[in-house]
Symmetry: none
Amino acid sequence: MATRAHDDAARLARRNTILQAARSLFLLDPHQLPSAAHIANEAGLAKGTVYLYFRTKEEIFLALLGEEFFGLMQEIESIFADTSKLSIPSFLQRYAAYLEAHPEFLRLDAMTYSVLEQNMSHEVLREFKLALVAQLTKTGAQLDAALQFPAGRGASLLLRTHAITRGLWQSLAYPPALQTLLVDEVFAPIRPDFNSELMATLGEYWQGALQNSAPYPP
Amino acid sequence: MATRAHDDAARLARRNTILQAARSLFLLDPHQLPSAAHIANEAGLAKGTVYLYFRTKEEIFLALLGEEFFGLMQEIESIFADTSKLSIPSFLQRYAAYLEAHPEFLRLDAMTYSVLEQNMSHEVLREFKLALVAQLTKTGAQLDAALQFPAGRGASLLLRTHAITRGLWQSLAYPPALQTLLVDEVFAPIRPDFNSELMATLGEYWQGALQNSAPYPP
Amino acid sequence: MATRAHDDAARLARRNTILQAARSLFLLDPHQLPSAAHIANEAGLAKGTVYLYFRTKEEIFLALLGEEFFGLMQEIESIFADTSKLSIPSFLQRYAAYLEAHPEFLRLDAMTYSVLEQNMSHEVLREFKLALVAQLTKTGAQLDAALQFPAGRGASLLLRTHAITRGLWQSLAYPPALQTLLVDEVFAPIRPDFNSELMATLGEYWQGALQNSAPYPP
Amino acid sequence: MATRAHDDAARLARRNTILQAARSLFLLDPHQLPSAAHIANEAGLAKGTVYLYFRTKEEIFLALLGEEFFGLMQEIESIFADTSKLSIPSFLQRYAAYLEAHPEFLRLDAMTYSVLEQNMSHEVLREFKLALVAQLTKTGAQLDAALQFPAGRGASLLLRTHAITRGLWQSLAYPPALQTLLVDEVFAPIRPDFNSELMATLGEYWQGALQNSAPYPP
DNA sequence: TATGAATGAGTTTTCATTCAT
DNA sequence: AATGAATGAAAACTCATTCAT
């Protein structure tokens, strides 16, 4: 029997154990959520214990998705913290690097619509969206400041940048088994490297977007 | 017992009946695929009959997705057929109109990664991708011609346009139950109207993209 | 469309085609009866046609079993036709050789109880048993004559010999996948070679049986 | 909800409940295995619970078959425990009595080849065969001692005795519906009473076998 | 708090057989 | 006679979640 988590710190630690177990199992097979039993086992806990920390299995992954999203926003904030040496290309580079370092993010994104948002109390989902919009607004405001945007423009660009990213990923990520089936040259048009394609697409998008907004490169 | 579909035309018609039954049921609850039994019933057929026309339930929806995709590409071809009165904004308008008239398209797109591509023989999937890449190339070539792009640029723009669209849709489409929970003003930044947002985002993307390519508006 | 079988000879030939198709498919996987569709396909016929010749799938295999059984009895009759050079060991040798040349016989026997006799009109089954008992009586009578048995003893010995054979086969025949798992020396007691074991067991049985009956080797 | 089986004893008891439920349902219709749902219901449990104790439905019946087999071997050991008053006829009598008291044994035997050994992990099957060969060897050794056989002869006789029994049973056991169709006198040769036939056949077999071996009746 | 035994809803797919052509 | 499209019964098994201990 696992030790009892009596104080808040211990509870938080245990919650984290579960999240990390879920994360690592999901990465092994990112096309379906691992079973609750499997997660519990990986976390060294009993099945019932998991449900003391999350009301449904999907809540676990929503929490995971949230962590990644907030992490990404913070990364962006740190990028835009020092406006002296800022350029869009270098921003995109660090953006892409973050995604590569957190492979579960876009994979979870791809399951949001059909899996994650199902089987979840709307209460929890609303809470999640509230935190999300708050973070988006905050990071967006920093962009507004850094790039002298009108209020709200930064948040909008962030939302769109994320949307473009998730869309591209879903169009270009193939399960390993399929990858080997698509090696033929005829498939080239739908098999560019995700990272280059992401950089190119976002580059073009931001170029167009900045012309519609204010200054930026003074 | 349903009438026997003996010749190819009748078989094709029956196959279509199944597709339309699947389509209409899916639109009633676009977060999960309807059951095979339900589809058969809606089509006025026995369960087993459905499996005479499709090897798995998912194949039905992949076929549906394919139809929509090819329809969209044809729509685009027809848009670019008459280059005399062409403008990007009017292209985007017709593009968005097509999507609005075919609501199942983006909903199916959202299920591709986590549901559709599962439980499907790779054989069938490869076939599907092959048809898809062929269509993309063909329509892309027309763009190349119409807009004086270097070869392949049109296909690339189409792929990206589609990716942006699917990403935006997933970021902005909320299940009805959730919509009512997000009416509060604080959620405004993540609740722009999908259509306007799509037009704005694609508009900015194409603006940026065209500057990187060749001429277009001479 | 296959040619029409108008006369009796043609009908018989077609029936035989079906039997042989069933036989060869069954031997490929002798743990389950092949599907009706598969049999029809192998025979170059449509599914419905098979049901013009047999009322159920199981009837096909019962017919096959019957053929083998009657063949075996005839073989035995031919063995005992020439009493001059008869000996039990040589009889058993030819008996075993027949079985080896007709591998489907004992495999079908093993499915009789749980599969074949199910899903079969009792009418057909009774008919089958009637033919069987007639053949058994006839061949048995020849044994009675050849070995100077009291009436009925021959039939009884045949029945028992068959029973011993089918029991041994079921106790010693392992599916290929299992065979490789039982190579370890500890399994030796339950893995004697079927043929030797059959000869030994029947040899002992007949030795005991003949002492209870009459003369034989004078 | 059934009471929780927390300790090993309770778990064993529950497992046994399932086995007995399966047994009694199987005897009601010994030509097919009852469904898992039916077994669960009969045991007063939910379907899922059954699968906590057995991985497949077939495993249940394999376990049942094992129990009967080991019971039979133990019976034989007890028969041969007191060599003072031993005789083959009395051995066979008690052997037959055991079979009559455990009607599911031979019925399960008849399904082994075509049903039980299917849908079963080879791992489990190997385990089963291992226990079986161990028991056979042990009981066989006792025969060797009691009847002064060369080593291994006892196990061999047991294997053959079992094989003869199962073969005879399959040749002579008719489903009730069929029995009434075979009352006619012409069927007499294939309808001897199973018990008498078993005694007679095994009697003859052992008579022949003992002459090939060592002493026995001193 | 932690455990893990018990629950039971839920669905795809196969395939023997029929029968309209 | 031959075809093959249509039928629909039938059942194993998983797994998220609960709750007695």
